[in-house]
């Protein structure tokens, strides 16, 4: 069964429907890119999938034993975060909160996972640094490390490279690709249609109408 199945989904706000009749599924190991113009409903779709916005119709089914507390999410940066006093380690660890139930403090296993996650993202040496003093690329890697702590099977990334310089962008894409190779399903929003075609196994494009394209062959050879 697919990790995520979307049937006849309609998304939007109180004021109206942004997109409807969305049908697609995400399987283990998939790399789905959501592309399209600003305001076409990409972010709304992701927020609806994550339960941050109400759906207007249709169905979202989490399968394969995937629980709500097992998804990872990399949201767009907010104003609050830019001057937030937090060490890298504090932020990464906060990704573990979903699996904690009513336990108030992090245990040794979660701290170990945070260490591994930071190592994977190449930010171990930044663990004690203050988040607001990091570069844009480093900040995104911190947030990705946090998302990894929350996720076992699927990651939702909302424009992970927006505002990054070209080098940091490539590095970010490589890191995401690496996670995907390790078996993590990726659902990513991006402006950059040309760039994501190199990586994506599936593309959901919001244009005049919504198209869902499989690029399986790319995934196999890529």
């Amino acid at each position: 069964m697919a990790l995520l199945t979307v049937k006849n989904l309609a998304i939007g706000y109180d004021s109206g429907v942004v997109a409807k009749d969305l049908n697609f599924e995400v399987n283990a190991g998939d790399y789905l890119c959501i592309t399209g113009e600003n305001g076409s409903g990409k972010s709304t779709l992701m927020k609806t999938l994550l339960g941050l916005s109400e759906k207007l119709g249709g169905e979202i089914i989490f399968g394969d034993g995937l629980k709500k507390t097992e998804v990872g999410y990399l949201p767009q940066q907010t104003m609050i975060q830019r001057d937030f006093p937090a060490s890298v380690k504090e932020i990464v660890l906060s990704g573990a909160q979903a699996g904690m139930g009513f336990r108030p403090f992090y245990n040794a296993r979660e701290k170990e996972r945070a260490r591994i996650s930071m190592e994977k993202m190449g930010i171990s040496d930044l663990a004690g640094r203050c988040y607001r003093e990091l570069s844009g690329g480093q900040q995104q890697r911190v947030l990705l490390a946090r998302a990894l702590l929350a996720a076992d099977k699927i990651l939702f990334l909302d424009e992970p490279v927006s505002g990054l310089d070209p080098d940091a962008t490539i590095k970010m894409y490589e890191l995401i690709k690496m996670l995907n190779r390790e078996g993590m399903a990726i659902v990513m929003i991006s402006h950059d249609v040309r760039e994501v075609k190199k990586y994506a196994s599936h593309i959901l494009h919001f244009g005049d109408e919504v198209s869902f394209e499989k690029r399986k062959e790319m995934a196999i050879c890529g």
């Binding site: 909160q97 108030p104 946090r146 998302a147």
Partner: protein, 293 residues
């Protein structure tokens, strides 16, 4: 010669303090003042970071309105009315704040000003007290009510403060997560609404408690100053929280002692001390940044 004089002055200051400490009301004031300073600084960090610096102001005016109504109704225990009203307003204010920032801002301003105006109006029209200005002034500025605390009031304050501190420690990690990134927290299944509700209730309790100490006008200072001071210097949430708590407690102690010895109003003195500390931290932060660059 000068040194000798300073030593003499210090001795007399210390003697004065020791003398005053023998009075229970001074001890009560110190205990309550310290605890309230501690609680408000803990929540202050979260509120300042969430851009809710002014919620203290807004809610304290609501509490003022509550006190006014309770006085008119001649209620013996004003808390019964003031606390629920303030909690409800806190919940409403924090809720509107989630959607759009400007709305939350405006909501705080509206509730704050309206509560203040209605409170004063009610006291004026229906008030039975002969000394209306004095009453209003003491509710707004705290005056000396902290020096007239009774033992049950001190115990109530101790119990509530301990409760706040325990809740804060237990939910510290969640509070961090919810403050830093509400969308992430919600996406991974954290009950963000529940925590916001908890924050609202706790902050309302603190404000109602703090009204005794500094009065409703100066509560914002207790919430904002320690957090801002610590934010200038430290870069991790834990350090900021701990340092804010330490600063707040120290300034409150120093402020109360000065006010007792010098006979100045308690609330204003504490806030003045905190403002000086903030200026110090501001300069220190700038110097540290300069060194880093």
């Amino acid at each position: 010669m000068d040194n000798l004089r300073i030593i003499c002055m210090q001795a007399s200051f210390a003697e004065k303090i020791i003398m005053y400490m023998q009075y229970p009301f001074v001890r009560y004031a110190l205990i309550v003042g310290t605890l309230i300073a501690l609680c408000s600084s803990l929540l202050g960090v979260t509120l300042v970071l969430k851009r809710f610096s002014f919620i203290g102001d807004g809610l304290s005016h609501v509490a003022f309105g509550g006190v006014a109504i309770a006085s008119i109704l001649n209620m013996t225990n004003k808390m019964v009315l003031v606390l629920p009203v303030t909690i409800i307003c806190a919940i409403l204010l924090l809720r509107t704040g989630q959607n759009t920032k400007i709305k939350g801002d405006a909501a705080i301003a509206v509730i704050s000003v309206a509560a203040l105006a209605f409170g004063y109006l009610m006291m004026n029209v229906f008030g039975t007290s002969a000394n209306l200005t004095g009453d209003v002034c003491s509710t707004l500025f705290g005056s000396t009510s902290i020096l007239t605390l009774t033992l049950p009031e001190v115990w109530l304050c101790v119990v509530l403060s301990l409760l706040v501190v325990c809740l804060f420690i237990l939910f510290y990690n969640r509070l961090f997560a919810v403050t830093f990134d509400e969308s992430f927290a919600r996406a991974v299944g954290t009950k963000v609404e529940a925590y916001n509700l908890l924050i609202a209730i706790v902050i309302a309790v603190i404000i109602v408690l703090a009204m005794n100490l500094v009065g409703s006008l100066l509560i914002s200072a207790l919430i904002i100053f320690p957090a801002l001071s610590a934010l200038r210097i430290f870069g991790s949430f834990k350090k900021v929280t701990v340092f804010a708590a330490l600063l707040s407690v120290t300034s409150a102690l120093v402020g109360i002692l000065i006010s007792i010895v010098a006979g100045t109003p308690v609330g204003s003195t504490i806030v003045a001390v905190q403002a000086v500390v903030f200026a110090g931290c501001y300069i220190m932060g700038s110097v540290m940044k300069g060194v880093l660059i």
